[in-house]
Structures are given as C-alpha cells and as structure tokens.
Amino acid sequence: MNEHAPLEPAPLEPIGCQNAPVLRERGQHEVFCGLTGIVWLHRKIQDAFFLVVGSRTCAHLLQSAAGVMIFAEPRFATAIMEEKDLAGMVDAHDELDREVGRLLERRPDIRMLFLVGSCPSEVIKLDLSRAAERLSSIHAPKVRVLNYSGSGIETTFTQGEDACLAALAPEMAYGEDKQLLVAGALPDVFEDQFARLFEALGVPVAFLPSRRSDELPSIGPNTSVLLAQPFLNETARCLAGRGAEILPSLYPFGEAGTTAWLRTGADVFGVDDERFEIVTAAPRARARASVAARRKRLEGKRITFLPDSQLELPLARFLTEECAMVPVEIGTPYLHRAHMAAELAALPAAVRLSEGQDVERQLDRLREDRPDLTVCGLGLANPLEAEGLATKWAIELVFSPIHGYEQAGDLAELFARPLERRSRLAGLRGKGPATPGIEPAAPGSGCRRTARACGGCP
C-alpha cells in the first residue's frame, strides 16, 4: 500500500509504532457504554426498533447521550425493570412479552426488533437470547427479534454497534456471488458516495447494515469484507465465521486512508491501476485540496486522544500524515492489533499508546503534556477548557460525516475549529468564574494533592 501513500513530505520522525510499548491501565473509565450506539443505529436501519431491557439509568443515558432529544418519536425505548421484576414477584419474561406485544401493536411499521441487554439484565442473568427466540416465534413472520448486549460491563461505546452488527451476521442469507461487503453503519450520503465509487471501479458492493431489515446482503465464501469502522472486531469474527474473507486495510479517513481502503477492495476484483486512477483522481484531488486549506491551522500542533470510540488510531494517523499534527498520547479503550496493523505501521514510533483508562492518572499526564488539542468525552471537555486546554468532543467524530474523500476536509475542520475559536476569542476570557457561583478553576484543580504529587499543579 506504500505506493498509495500521500504525496506529502515524509515526517522526520521514524514511522511505525507496531512495536511500541502500550500503557495498560485499570481505573475509572470516562466512557459511554455500548447502549449509546443505539442513538445512530436506530436511524440507520429504518424498520428496526431497539428495546433496551434495563434500568432508569439506561433510559437516562440514551436521552442524555443523544445531546438533544430527537424530534420524531425515536425507534428506541427502555423496558425499565422494577422492584417486582427483581424480587421474583413477577416473571421477567412474561413482563417482557407483554411490553413487546404492546410496542409492536403500537408500531406496526417495525419489522426487526433488537432486545438490547444492559448491565442490570446481564447481572441478573436475564436470558435475552431465549426471549428473542420465543418472541420471534410469536411474532413471525412479520417481525424478527434479535438480541445483543450493549451493557457497560461488557462493551465500551462503539462496541455496541459491533455487537449489533454481529447479531445480524447469522441472519444474512448464504450466497456464492463474488462481492465486496462494506461493514459499518455509515450515514446514507457516504454509503451512496462509496457505492458510486465502487460501481465506477466495477466492484459489486453491498453494505451491512442495510437500510431496511429485509434487505440484508448475502454472504458466503466469495464475499470479501472491508471494515468501514475500526471497532468491528466481533462483527469481523462472525462474518469470517460465515466464510467471508476480512481484508486488512487502513480505514477510510482522509485522502490516503480512503485511497488505501478503496485499493484494498479493488485489488480483490483485479481493478487495474489505470482504471483506479481514472475513478479516484478527481475526488483525491478534491480531498487533498480541502485538507490543505486547513493544514496550516493544524501543522505542528500537538494532540492527545483520550480513549473513547476506537477511532483514535486511524484519526491520529490521518492528522499526522495529512495535517502534520504531532500525536502525544493516543488512548484507546481497546487495541485490536490485527485490525489496526496498517494504522500502527503508519504512526510515528515515538507516540505514547495507552489502552483502557485510569482517568485521574491520564489527566495527570495530560496536564504535564499540555497538548494543543485534546480529544475527549463530553464530561471532560468543559473542565479541561477551563484549565486552558483546547478540546474536541470525541462523540462528534462518531456522529459526524467524516469518512471518504468528500468529507476529508470536514474531518480536518473538526480539529481545526476549536483552535480557530480559541484564537478568535483570545482577548475575551478574563478571570471571572466560568460557572457563576463557583470559583474559577485553577489548572489542575480537579486534584487537591500537593504540587509534588500531582504533575499538573503549578
């Protein structure tokens, strides 16, 4: 894939952090659980409904993680377990059957129902696969009922999408046609962009998940899978289990990543260089131009990723290669070396990799590093800004259009904007409290230890 590397001057540092040590930490994880994926998945599969079997906390999370409430009635809900479900006064399975019955009666447009396991349902060992089987037989053939777990004790944030797509794998029909399967919930607009590119390359392509539950693609030994998202480890395992071949690649972020990703797919179908060049030349040029327009604001700026979505490594690679940013620490909730091999090989050898999290220790390191930009969760962003550290909300990278050529500039813009905003407002911020009634935060104020013990306190 080297011949498709960007035509930028190579960074001076040695490249390739496959062998770099990884800092593994246990402690407080400042991350979402896998239920959060429902916020975008329920919009992607238009005749599916996601029913979380959980607690009031789960319902509250879904409502809060969405940032704002969704205007239309969402295709998700929570069956909130109550005292009597736990005390065994009622049979939780009977209760679930009743609620599902009411739900399907009210929403006759639903064709696929996901029962989504949560922390409490896992802890009390409520068998949702048995429930899904039973409910499927009750509501067949109109509605298929599947299940997966989005619980925090088993999944981190985007692993919820992974678990959902993995649950779809056994539902796909067997087929022997030679085809490319793109896995990962992409916004419809990029799915269409990628579909056009592959069509122009003469590559037959299908997408998982499909927009409607009855349009799931087929799968078989002649299916080659390109992962559009870097967090689909379980999905990849299940698709491989159906006989498909998983194609390792860079992920389609930025001009270089997208080109490498398309090339990987095209190679399987014997697309020649000339054709590839004809199809991709124009969008590649557009992508490069739009990234170049933002590059001067990002060049040389130091960036740290706190663990969040598993997008951290591919995005750090894009920012390093195409925007000349300098990664300081790249945290990821989970590092799958096989699926990240190409990404690791493209990152500077000197970068600090961390997996898992102890948020307090990580913030100590962050205050010592003081990068120009920190990619973090919503719970940390304003407190870090108040300490003078510019931040980018990680969740926006999951919710925003960032894949492919046409969005490469937008992706760079997501990182450039917080820096741009700070420079525009440079004269504005005084010493007043950011939250009136609360004393202004001093650097390192989350920590009351002595300066000696805490690297961040001046």
């Binding site: 979402f32 109550e82 009411r102 896992e122 004790i153 719970g379 950011a434 989350g446």
Partner: protein
C-alpha cells in the same frame, strides 16, 4: 417492567450527584459499572460547569464480577480520599451495583477514614432523581448538623438549591437580596455552595427557608424536629406569592416586612394590567412540571396573567396530593404521570394555546405546533441563560411575564390574523412575526404516521392508526373553507365535533349550515 421513551427524572444516584456537585469539599464514591460516567456530562455540558462533578466511579466490568468487586470499591474509595482530600464522603451504589450487594456504606465506614462517611441507600428500582437528591441532602444534614447556639441577629438557612436545578442560581441571588433588605442574615445556603463543615453550623439559624420542597423538605422537617427550627411554606414565585413570602419570613424573624415589600422594581402587575395585555385574557394554558413549579405556574397564570388553566400536572408523585387539590380548584383532574406519551396525549386532547412545561413539553409543543415556555426541570442547555433570569421574587415575576408572553402572537397581530385569514402570506400558518423560526403548526407536523400518532394514542390501548381511523366524512367545499377560518388550535376539535354531530344525524355531506348547527349544539 415499564416501557419508557423519554424520562423526566434520572435514577436516584443522579439526585445525589446534584447535591454533591452543588457542594464544596464533599466527594461521592459511586459503585457503578463502566458507562455510568455519562452522568458527568449533564453537569459539564447542560449546565456548562467548569469542574468535573466530585464523583469517583468504581467502573467494574464483567470480568470483575467473578472476582472481588468489594475490594475494587475499597481501593477506589481509598484512592479518591487520597487524591481529593474531601471534608466528608458520601458513598453508594448505582442500579447495577445495587444488584451485586457489596454494601458500599458498610465497606467505607469500616475503612477508618479520618473524615465523616455518609452511606446512601438509594433504591434504584423504586425511586427517582428528586427523591435521591432529597434523601442525600437529608442524610448529610442528619449526619452533620448539630444543635448549636443561635446567631444574635435574626438569621435563616436557605435550603434546596442544587446543581442542574431550574434557575436555582438566580432564584438564590434574588432571595438573598430580599432577605438582606429585611435585615435577615443568611446563616448557610445548602446544598449550593455549602461545605460539609458549613452543614455542621446549620443549627445556628433561627429558621429555614425552603425554596425547593422536592429537595429540601425532608431535611427541613428533620431540622424542625431535631434543631427546633421552623420552616417557610410559601414558594415565592409570582407577585402574590412573593408578597406572602415576605410577610411569612418577617413574621418568623420578628422583623418589619415593609422593606421587603419595596416594589419599585416590580413591573409585572402593570405590564399585565396595561391595555396591550388584554389579548392575554383567557389564553388556554396547559401546565406540567415538577409539583412546586407547576403549582406556582398555574397560580400565576390564573391570577396574575388572566389565562385559563386547561391542564395541570406533575411528574413527581411525592407531591401529587397538592397538585390534585390545586387542579380541582381549576375544575380539572390533575395529570400525575411520568409517561411522556401520556402527557403528549393529554396536551393534544386539551388543545391549549400555550404550554408551560419542561424541555419535554417543549418538544411536544414543537410536534403539535403549540408555543411553550419552560417553567421546570428537566431542562436543556438553553435553559441555563448567561443573564440573571430568576423565577422567584419580584424580578422573577417580571421574568415570568416576559418569557410567557414571548412565544405568543401579539395582541393586534392576532386580530389581523383573524381578519385576513386568507391573505396568502399573512395567515394563521405564519406564526408570530417576531419569531422567524416559528413555522406553522400544520406545515411543521410530520406526515403520517407521525401526525396521527397522538390521536391514535389518545384512544385506549393504542390501536393501529390505519385500522382505527373511520372513513373520512364528506365535507362540501364551502364547509371546508369555512372550517379553515376557525383558529387552528381548535380546528381539530371543531372538525371532530362537527363530524360526530353530522354522522349521528346522517347529515352527509357536511355543509356550512351543519358546521354552525354543530357549533351551536356543542356550545350549550
């Protein structure tokens, strides 16, 4: 099990976080799985706080369940104490940790930490956020407040303001100013801004001002018994209630109420009496929120704005009795529910001209094309304004007038809309001219099945719209035109009534005559 789409309240440990985050020097160690940290963003994003909430989560995962989660809790607790050096700790479990029964309270109190440790038992599968805040505050007060000598000058504590409260910051400033004018000293404000040490001197006050019964009434009752401190009952929202509040605190403090009744900055009574406000008379409003704010809003709407209250309800059952009594006074049955879909159906049925509600009702209003002003938590980021914008006190009364009138079509404009209904660019679908974004009620409604949903839900059991909908009755073109001249917020009802009247009498197709016959029939 209960199906929930949106919730008015989070679980009870969120209530505990609202107390802990409002205070200083207190730290909360929460036994909770990975993912429960989402709660931090409520405070840092919605309220724009510049600090993380003072909460440490144990973050247990599936693999920990087989080993020793209790040891994980002990280690987390020790680390949190070491790092944050709080004056006191509260400890408890979130919903999942409650199931694994590690007893965080017992574990933490046996660790020999050199500061008070207050265990919280917040049953997640029975109780909700407001109760959790109330219980947490009560436990803290019970553990820390001691009888002590009263201050020499008349003084009070102000109880109830928390993090994420609706306008608590501004209400507090307003009430402190009012008490200052009366010469009443404020001994401790809690939870907002108080440290655990401050709570130990609560007993020095002569009485307690309870601003938000949802969070402070339990603690205030305890202090009444244990510390002999009387408490206020009046919630100073609106002109009348503020006057009554001044009299009440003056009496408790034994001071002259006159300085507190200085109304030189109070404009709401005149704004409401001036002739321009005549158009507000009889505006039909639907009120829903927490019990305290809903009761206050209904009273202000009825007595100080001249509105008609056509619906009144609350999502917290703890104060349901008061809401039922007040609703009866307006000739209504109170709506006590935390089911968003029930509230939406009730609003669709009542067809009010305005909603006074929470952020949830703002969404209902958007769907139904009904303007909404927010009067109660839960609220979103836009309900934490940069400017001073209290609900309480005389300035609060001014704010209520402004914010409730703003979403409405203004007086003469309303007449013009009624007179020239068929003007192609000036009609009742245009919305208030000063709100450029306010799109028409009917145009903004999504196409079926969304639009028909509220109606379908109103029918018991929620049958499928397609099956439940009867054959549409025929209307003559003239009658259809005439129907369009009826204001949009009652048009649906007029159509239903007319069709019921016509089909009962076999008057098909419906003519202009039938329309007015039906109007006369239902007007009796």
């Amino acid at each position: 099990m209960k199906l929930s789409v949106w919730t008015y309240e989070g679980p009870p440990h969120i209530g505990a976080m609202r107390v802990a985050t409002a205070m200083k020097g207190l730290h909360y160690v929460l036994h909770a799985p990975q993912g429960d940290t989402y709660a931090d963003l409520l405070f840092t994003m919605i309220e724009r706080r510049d600090h993380r909430p003072p909460v440490t989560y144990t973050t247990f995962q599936a693999r920990d369940l087989g080993s020793d989660t209790a040891e994980l809790f002990r280690r987390t607790c020790a680390d949190a104490y070491e790092r944050f050096q709080p004056e006191a700790l509260i400890v408890g479990a979130s919903c999942t940790a409650e199931l694994i029964q590690d007893d965080p309270g017992g574990l933490a109190t046996s660790m020999g930490l050199p500061v008070p440790v207050v265990p919280l038992e917040l049953p997640s599968y029975q109780r909700k956020e407001s109760w959790g805040a109330s219980e947490t505050f009560y436990r803290l007060v019970r553990a820390l407040a001691q009888p002590c000598e009263r201050t020499e000058v008349p003084s009070c504590n102000i109880l109830g303001p928390t993090a994420l409260g609706f306008r608590h910051r501004d209400d507090l400033a307003e009430i402190e100013r009012l008490l200052g004018r009366l010469g009443i000293a404020v001994n401790v404000v809690a939870p907002m801004g108080a440290s655990p040490t401050d709570l130990t001197r609560l007993g020095a006050a002569h009485f307690n001002v309870v601003l938000y019964p949802e969070t402070a009434e339990t603690a205030a009752r305890h202090m009444e018994r244990a510390l002999g401190q009387p408490r206020t009952r009046t919630i100073p929202i609106g002109t009348g209630a503020t006057r009554a509040f001044v009299e009440e605190v003056a009496e408790l403090a034994g001071v002259d109420p006159a300085p507190g009744l200085d109304e030189s900055a109070l404009r709401q009574p005149w704004w409401s009496s001036s002739v321009d406000s005549t158009y507000l008379t009889g505006k039909r409003v639907f009120v829903f929120g927490d019990a305290t704010h809903a009761l206050a809003a209904a009273r202000v709407a009825s007595e100080e704005m001249g509105f008609d209250v056509v619906g009144l309800g609350a999502y917290n059952r703890e104060f349901a009795r008061d809401v039922r009594a007040a609703a009866a006074g307006y000739g209504l049955d109170a709506l006590i529910t935390d089911d968003y879909l029930d509230v939406e159906a009730a609003i669709a049925e009542a067809q009010p001209e305005m909603i006074l509600g929470t952020q949830m009702e703002r969404h209902i209003g958007k769907r139904l094309g009904i303007p909404c002003a927010v009067i109660s938590a839960p609220v979103h980021v836009q309900d934490f304004p940069a400017r001073h914008s209290p609900q309480m006190g005389f300035e609060g009364a001014n704010v209520l007038f402004d914010t409730w009138v703003h979403p409405l079509v203004m007086g003469l404009e309303e007449h013009l809309l009624a007179m020239f209904r068929e003007d192609f660019e000036f009609n009742d679908q245009a919305g208030p001219s000063h709100l450029a974004h306010a799109v028409s009620a009917e145009k903004s409604l999504p196409p079926d099945p969304g639009a028909g949903r509220a109606d379908a839900l109103a029918g018991e059991g929620g049958s499928m719209p397609a099956e439940a909908a009867p054959e549409p009755l025929a209307w003559t073109t003239d009658a259809e035109q005439e129907l369009k001249k009826i204001p949009f917020f009652v048009r649906g009802k007029a159509r239903r009534n007319t069709e019921a009247y016509a089909s009962a009498r076999g008057l098909i197709p419906i003519t202009v005559e039938t329309l007015y016959d039906a109007k006369a029939h239902f007007a009796r």
